[in-house]
């Protein structure tokens, strides 16, 4: 049996692909060639048009104009089914596996035949396991797999029908440094089989390490291509400079060193000033906190730690390992079943959101659109959302629009929120500006401690820089920050100490003092997660 029957040594060429959405041209006459046996890196900021291009290739969106040619024949990819039939497989950024199904069931989901053929499916999985260099237990539940293994299953799923093109959308964003090495090995084997690979990332060092050629998108345009021959000739730093110039254009001079660092060119180092914890008062203390969750949420179990005045305490962990429960229990949105929360030497375990808010405990949620803001309401209302009914905005139970507007204008200026007016609906703002609304609301009016959950997730690089600076300033001015993040670079850059959380438990703590922090955090994560099933 041939492993990859439909593979030919062909080229998939995109010609002048244009796709516009109301108010934004997501793809503007993008042309590029994807050659079999090569890893084609697609780089660009959030909003550069990478996702749109991928969904066009995957048949989920139709281009407004432009053509896609496979082996010289024009093909209209009108549905995901056509994409699969053409051998285009996509591994999305977030897991699309059904947790309650076994690996094999997940893989057979797209099978169109009437009866499921388990025997043949197991054979196919064996072939693909060999190809990827992974051992995958076909009868394990998807929910029991570590994240690295889940990704291998996703890749197997994408290659299931004998792919010619494998698209990996930011595959490294959730992985530990160790799992990234596994992934790189698998990609090399797939490439050696003659498949084309599109590797999407926003980290320069990954692009250089894994890519054969690089295309940079900015503002929906193809602004730079480094061919295989060119990339082979360039040294790592030369390649990075070329890519940076394309990514930022004329902004590069302004962004300066930050650009390189934000684009993940170098390993992250701590940027916050060192503080002597012994001399700092304890701001927040958790003692053996456990929660009992709702639905499929992961709860926290016996979590204890302290956050000091002026400190940024990072919490590292794979997404969905109890971070939301931890954030909510600190913010007062979720009750703990055991343990105590001490804030400024006072027990606040029994206090609700509003009381904690008044004491200065704030929470910037990761669900900006559906939890942090009410999209159908104005920016001004969203800025006072946690002070509804309080003076000076409400007098005798009636809203004082002038006071609300004045406060809104003050915060809009202070945090440079780009909005047509204070009366604009918050849902129409960009993700970065919505995050600024949240930060403005939470950090104003006597904030002493803030929990931030994935504060820069999905933001453009300039806003990422801004958000990190705001957090650093807040801590430097005597505030305390509990930073929950899945981005190791971010944690290393901002935190004084990092604790590692896995399935709701704290599995380790690392002082962020010098080189190798990311690796040590990664070891704790790997030991706790991958160790179980490897």
């Amino acid at each position: 049996m041939t492993t990859l029957a439909t593979t030919t040594t062909g080229i998939i060429s995109l010609r002048e692909i244009t796709k516009a959405f109301p108010g934004v041209v997501a793809n503007d006459q993008i042309s590029l060639d994807i050659v079999s046996g090569q890893v084609h890196c697609l780089l660009g900021e959030n909003g550069a048009g990478k996702s749109t291009l991928i969904s066009i290739l995957a048949g989920m969106q139709q281009p407004d104009s432009g053509t896609i040619e496979i082996d010289g024949n024009a093909v209209a990819i009108t549905s995901p089914k056509v994409a699969v039939d053409q051998g285009i497989g996509v591994v999305h950024q977030h897991s699309t596996l059904i947790p309650a199904f076994t690996v094999l069931e997940n893989l057979m989901l797209g099978d169109p035949s009437l009866m499921l053929d388990r025997k043949q499916a197991i054979e196919r999985l064996d072939e693909l396991s060999g190809l990827l260099g992974a051992t995958i237990d076909p009868n394990a539940l998807a929910s029991e797999l570590g994240l690295g293994q889940q990704q291998q299953v996703e890749i197997a799923k994408a290659l299931w029908k004998g792919s010619r093109l494998l698209i990996l959308d930011e595959p490294t964003s959730m992985l530990t440094p160790q799992a990234i090495e596994h992934l790189a090995a698998s990609i090399n084997r797939v490439k050696a089989e003659g498949l084309a690979v599109i590797f999407i990332t926003h980290k320069l060092r990954e692009a250089y390490a894994m890519g054969d050629c690089v295309t940079v998108l900015r503002g929906g345009r193809n602004v730079g291509h480094i061919s295989v021959e060119q990339l082979a000739k360039l040294s790592e730093s030369e390649a990075q400079n070329a890519i940076l110039a394309a990514m930022f254009g004329e902004d590069l001079a302004k962004a300066g060193d930050d650009a390189a660092e934000l684009a993940g060119a170098t390993a992250a180092v701590r940027e916050t000033a060192a503080i002597d914890l012994a001399t700092r008062k304890v701001r927040l203390e958790l003692h053996d906190i456990s929660t009992r969750g709702r639905g499929g949420d992961v709860d926290v179990v016996d979590v204890s730690f302290t956050v000091h005045e002026g400190e940024i305490l990072g919490v590292a962990g794979i997404d969905g390992h109890g971070q939301s429960a931890l954030a909510e229990v600190v913010a007062g949105q979720r009750a703990s079943i055991t343990g105590t929360v001490i804030f400024d030497d006072g027990d606040i375990t029994g206090k609700g959101v509003l009381e904690r808010q008044r004491l200065g405990v704030r929470y910037v949620t990761d669900d900006r659109l559906h939890e942090g803001t009410v999209g159908s309401m104005s920016v001004a209302i969203n800025l006072v959302l946690k002070r509804i009914g309080q003076a000076p905005f409400w007098k005798f139970g009636q809203i004082d629009s002038k006071a609300v507007d004045a406060e809104a204008r003050r915060l809009i200026d202070e945090y440079d929120i780009r909005t047509p007016s204070a009366a604009t609906r918050a849902g129409t703002l960009s993700g970065g500006n919505i995050q600024k609304v949240l930060l403005a609301r939470e950090l104003t009016h006597g904030a002493r401690f803030v929990v931030v959950n994935k504060p820069t997730y999905g933001l453009d690089l300039k806003t990422v820089r801004l958000v990190r600076d705001i957090l650093i300033d807040f801590a430097a001015n005597g505030g305390a920050v509990l930073l929950l993040s899945t981005d190791l670079d971010e944690l290393v850059e901002l935190s004084n100490r990092i604790v590692v959380i896995s399935t709701g438990r704290v599995v380790g703590a690392v002082d962020n003092d010098g080189q190798g922090t990311a690796e040590r955090v990664g070891q704790f994560m790997t030991g706790a997660i991958e160790g179980r099933d490897r």
Binding site: V353, H370, T373, V374, M377, K386, G389, G397, Q398, S421
Partner: protein, 371 residues
């Protein structure tokens, strides 16, 4: 200042979106009448005659009183995204408090005090009937559409049991309550035959417009309605909100029942159910859940319903034809909403395949004509 034109345009489009479905429903309703071999023009002219001209407008306003209070009750619940569909039972329970206990109470207590006690009793009865759906919703997240609807059936059954049992007027052969003395009924507004309940309904609409749009409670309710997650995030007590919103909604709908009996019906028969809530439903949405904006729409329906009964009889149509028009309004409202939303998003409102073949057709035609 710069926002005024866009505000005007927004208001205009809201009015257009409220009026267009009504007009379309009337036109299509007319076509259906034509297809049935009757004369639509006569039907609509007669509706106008019997609903508005002479002293008929007063009958329309009398009908409007309970409809408007129910509409505000639904608006309160729907703004909080709680789909209280138990209005039928809540209305009848509110009504039976007045019709069942009124005659006895008026005999022992001075009139104005009895009126106030009875109307409060109606409101309480309606509110109490929402406790079970609210509890199930707040505690277990049970879908309130189903629980409130089921409670509505139970409520209607309880009302029938009461009227056939303890509250039955023994002097009557058919099960019904004692008829209220006309002196005990709500007084008419000076110089008309419209009872005070109409004024009360208008006041309720105005008060709730203020409460929902200007107070902190209204904003909390809107936040809760927009997203329960956001409500939790900003420290709104979701459980309390569910109970409060449900109780307010039930109280208003129960009060509507009380007003209708005390102002107009004067007694209640077993199995009496005017289905006011069903008729009001589309207008609540057409008014975009605004208590003041719903007033003219309810006024329109009141004329339609008041004149429609006689008009239908004289045109040879079934009285239920009015519900056909209400249903048509609902359908056209949905279509109008869908089209405007898609247009606002800059998307086509036709399925991709259909659009391709239709535009393809037009393309070939224009190309031919260009030649």
């Amino acid at each position: 200042m710069s926002e005024n034109p866009s505000k005007m345009a927004g208001a205009m489009s809201a009015v257009a979106r409220a009026v267009i479905p009504v007009i379309l429903a009337i036109v299509v309703g007319g076509i259906i009448i034509l297809a049935m071999g009757k004369d639509p023009i006569t039907f609509y002219v007669k509706i106008f005659q019997y609903g508005l001209t002479g002293t008929n407008w007063m009958r329309s306003l009398v009908l409007m009183a309970p409809l408007l209070v129910i509409a505000v009750g639904l608006i309160v619940a729907f703004r909080g995204q709680l789909w209280n569909l138990g209005y039928g039972g809540q209305f009848l329970l509110g009504a039976v408090v007045v019709s069942g206990f009124g005659p006895a109470l008026f005999a022992v207590v001075p009139g104005p005090l009895a009126t106030i006690v009875l109307l409060l009793g109606s409101a309480v009865a309606g509110a109490v009937w929402t406790v079970v759906p609210a509890l199930l919703k707040a505690r277990y997240g049970t879908n309130e559409i189903i629980t409130s609807l089921v409670m509505s059936f139970i409520g209607a059954g309880v009302v029938n049991l009461l009227i056939k049992g303890p509250l039955k007027d023994a002097s009557q052969p058919i099960p019904q309550t004692k008829v209220l003395d006309s002196a005990d009924m709500l007084p008419d507004i000076f110089g008309t035959k419209v009872h005070l309940g109409f004024l009360l309904a208008i006041v309720i609409a105005l008060v709730f417009q203020f409460v929902l749009s200007r107070t902190s409670f209204g904003l909390r309710m809107d936040v809760f309605g927009a997203s329960a997650k956001s409500a939790n995030h900003v420290g709104i007590n979701s459980t309390g909100m569910v109970f409060l919103v449900f109780a307010l909604s039930g109280a208003l709908i129960g009060l509507a029942g009380g007003i209708d009996v005390l102002g107009h019906e004067s007694y209640q028969r077993a199995n009496w159910d005017p289905h006011y809530g069903d008729a009001v439903m589309p207008f609540v949405f057409l008014a975009r859940l605004s208590p003041v904006a719903v007033v003219p729409l309810i006024g329109f329906y009141s004329v339609l319903a008041t004149g429609g009964i006689l008009a239908a009889q004289q045109t040879g149509l079934n009285v239920d034809f009015l519900l056909v028009i209400v249903g048509l309004i609902l359908i056209f409202m949905t279509i109008t909403e869908f089209v405007t939303t898609r247009r606002a998003l800059g998307q086509s409102y036709m399925p991709v395949g259909l659009k391709r073949s239709v535009t393809g057709l037009f393309d070939s035609i224009t190309r031919r004509s260009n030649r």
